[in-house]
């Protein structure tokens, strides 16, 4: 469960996030949408404990700042929009990095750390890639490896920043289905940001529309993905069509 109240983040002298309230129930998937520069990624970074903020953020009722760095890393795992791909590192070792919060300063990985990595690789169908170099994988395979590292953290809360922006539509769907499956199997709470509005609405339980660092609309896809709201905040002409899994947003030339 994620509870955010009055979140403010100031970066480079600008209030990038300016008073955001947000709730994600246990096991729910909430996606933040909004135009470029709305503050979507910054909200995610704040919840992940990666930028200084004002206001309150609580994970499962525990205030974020009450957690030590290691405890925080066991509670919330982040997949950034463009994760750094370390040169020559094998997928196995990359996923093992996710166990960092469980390994003592001078210690080494335990048998249970290795068991978790083996299990995560199996769950994400990455076993055949374990001995491959991460920098030789394709975009879709890489995204699975990024997810695997986050899952290896054993955290209940998963933050995904534009998880599909580098993928073709086939792999987009594959990754999002995978996240949805893992959410169900592992009881994960997911907070994501996405640009593709139709897809965002299809996978998330609730959408939050962010503009200028504030929440301007939130609710189900049907409540948020309306022609009026999108026209106002994205400055775009769109047609919203009723699809099987929710509204489909189609941009229309002015």
């Amino acid at each position: 469960m994620i509870t955010v109240r009055g979140l403010r983040v100031r970066l480079g002298g600008v209030d990038v996030v300016d008073g955001v309230d947000l709730d994600v129930a246990d096991g729910a998937w909430v996606t933040i949408i909004g135009p470029n520069g709305a503050g979507k990624s910054t909200v995610l970074r704040a919840v992940g404990g990666l930028v200084p903020y004002a206001g309150t953020i609580a994970l499962g009722g525990v205030p974020l700042e009450a957690l030590s760095r290691r405890d925080r890393a066991r509670t919330v795992a982040t997949v950034p929009q463009h994760p750094v791909v370390p040169p020559a590192m094998l997928v196995y070792d990359y996923v093992l990095l996710g166990r960092t919060p469980y390994i003592r300063a001078l210690g080494r990985e335990s048998a249970s750390d290795l068991a978790v990595v083996g299990e995560v690789l199996a769950a994400l169908d990455l076993e055949a890639f374990a001995e491959r170099r991460l920098d030789t994988l394709s975009g879709g395979e890489r995204q699975r490896a990024f997810l695997a590292r986050a899952l290896a953290q054993g955290a209940r809360t998963l933050l995904l920043d534009e998880p599909t922006s580098a993928l073709d539509i086939g792999h987009q769907q594959e990754v999002l289905e995978l996240v949805d499956r893992l959410r169900g199997e592992r009881g994960l709470t997911v907070l994501a940001t996405m640009h593709d509005l139709s897809t965002a609405g299809e996978y998330a339980d609730r959408l939050v529309l962010l503009a200028g660092g504030r929440v301007v609309a939130h609710g189900t896809a049907r409540e948020v993905l309306t022609e009026d709201l999108l026209a106002e905040h994205y400055r775009v002409r769109v047609k919203v069509i009723d699809g099987e899994q929710g509204p489909l947003v189609v941009p229309v030339r002015r």
């Binding site: 890393a73 950034p80 990095l97 299990e119 009881g187």
Partner: protein, 390 residues
């Protein structure tokens, strides 16, 4: 508690989506194990990256070879077997018959051993500091002199040598000698770089540190050149120092370097796993529960101190700090858990052996050791680069 470590949690009966609050992690793991755990545990053939026993053994062999060869060869050649026996005799409780005369034993323990040990220490420090810098700055071109150590030490030494020659007496007693001047110059330059790196209230990032290192190095090098031009009579001595040498007076220099080497070695090696995590960058390392800035500072300070100590007794020996870690990275894998300890062993052995070449090929003259490290190291590195693809 949502913060309970997953590995300590027992598998609950139904770790499912509905489970509220705590124990969620345990639930996920138990689920995963039920699905695929047995299969992957049984066929778990993967080993995490790290130090392989064969490489570690190879490192110790290299050090042993460097020790014996470095002591056996010189103006008087000693039998390597006898030298090895005499070295083992240094271990308390061991008494082997080496067949060496008393005079030869004195050559081993009083003359050559200190020099070889100094070579091992300096090489180990430079290679370890280079590897640490490359990890901290995530820059393959980082070398131990990056933050101004070389320029600072150069200026310190040039100033002292010039001051001495200015008195007209090369053996004039100054309050401190060349090693102290080099050490003070090196540490002073790094401190200057460090302060400049956060000037104007900016955040001290790897990029600002590297740039301020460039500025400090350029400034100090200009000052050094100015001093040299004003005291041309000292040029030869300054150049001899700049190019590096391990000429030593017994155990004195070894004892100067040893404490710094020990502290630097412990701090850097203790961070070997963290340096692996830092390869994904600060923000992700922070998300994984580390304190990257703090580790970075500690590592930079430790590596700079070790380099300054090495430079103070050996002069500016280039190349070791870049080529040794890179060769090990290419041959033994990219993990700092293997690069750092192997850099200590192979860096030391490499420098001790190049010193052997430096003092024997043109005997009785000595070639500057920095010339030898590059002359043999560069072609070797070219071969390694060619053989390793991708």
């Amino acid at each position: 508690m949502t913060t309970r470590p997953a590995r300590e949690a027992p598998p609950p009966a139904g770790g499912q989506a509905g489970e509220a609050g705590g124990g969620g992690q345990a639930g996920q793991e138990a689920d995963g194990r039920r699905q695929a755990g047995d299969k992957s545990a049984a066929g778990n053939k993967h080993r995490p990256a790290g130090l392989r026993a064969a490489w570690l053994a190879g490192g110790f062999v290299a050090v042993a070879v460097a020790l014996v060869a470095g002591i056996a060869f010189g103006p008087v050649t000693l039998p390597p077997g006898g030298v090895a026996a005499e070295l083992l005799n240094l271990i308390p409780g061991v008494r082997l018959h080496s067949g060496l005369t008393e005079r030869e034993v004195a050559i081993v323990t009083a003359l050559r051993l200190p020099r070889v040990v100094l070579g091992l220490l300096v090489g180990a420090m430079l290679a370890l500091a280079g590897a640490a810098y490359q990890g901290v700055f995530r820059n393959p071109l980082a070398d131990p002199h990056l933050l101004g150590v070389a320029a600072g030490a150069g200026l310190g030494v040039t100033a002292v040598i010039a001051a001495r020659s200015g008195t007209g007496d090369v053996t004039a007693d100054l309050p401190f000698g060349v090693p102290v001047a080099a050490f003070v110059g090196a540490v002073g330059a790094v401190v200057l770089t460090w302060l400049l790196g956060a000037a104007g209230g900016r955040a001290r990032t790897p990029a600002t540190l590297i740039l301020s290192g460039v500025a400090v190095s350029a400034f100090l090098a200009a000052a050094q050149t100015f001093v040299m031009q004003r005291h041309t009579e000292s040029l030869r001595e300054v150049y001899a120092w700049l190019l590096g040498r391990l000429a030593t007076a017994g155990w004195h220099d070894v004892l100067i370097v040893l404490p710094y080497a020990a502290v630097t070695g412990i701090i850097v090696l203790a961070h070997r796993r963290e340096l692996d995590v830092l390869t994904v960058g600060d923000e992700e390392a922070q998300a994984l529960g580390l304190h990257p800035q703090r580790s970075r500072y500690l590592l930079v300070i430790a590596a700079s101190l070790g380099t300054a100590a090495a430079v103070s007794v050996s002069g500016l020996i280039g190349f070791v700090g870049i080529i040794v870690p890179h060769t090990l990275r290419l041959l033994a894998g990219p993990s700092y858990r293997s690069i750092l300890p192997l850099s200590v062993l192979f860096g030391g052995a490499f420098l001790a052996l190049t010193d052997l070449v430096a003092r024997t090929v043109a005997s009785p003259a000595e070639i500057p050791i920095g010339v030898v490290t590059a002359f043999f190291g560069a072609p070797f590195f070219a071969v390694v680069l060619r053989r390793i693809k991708g």
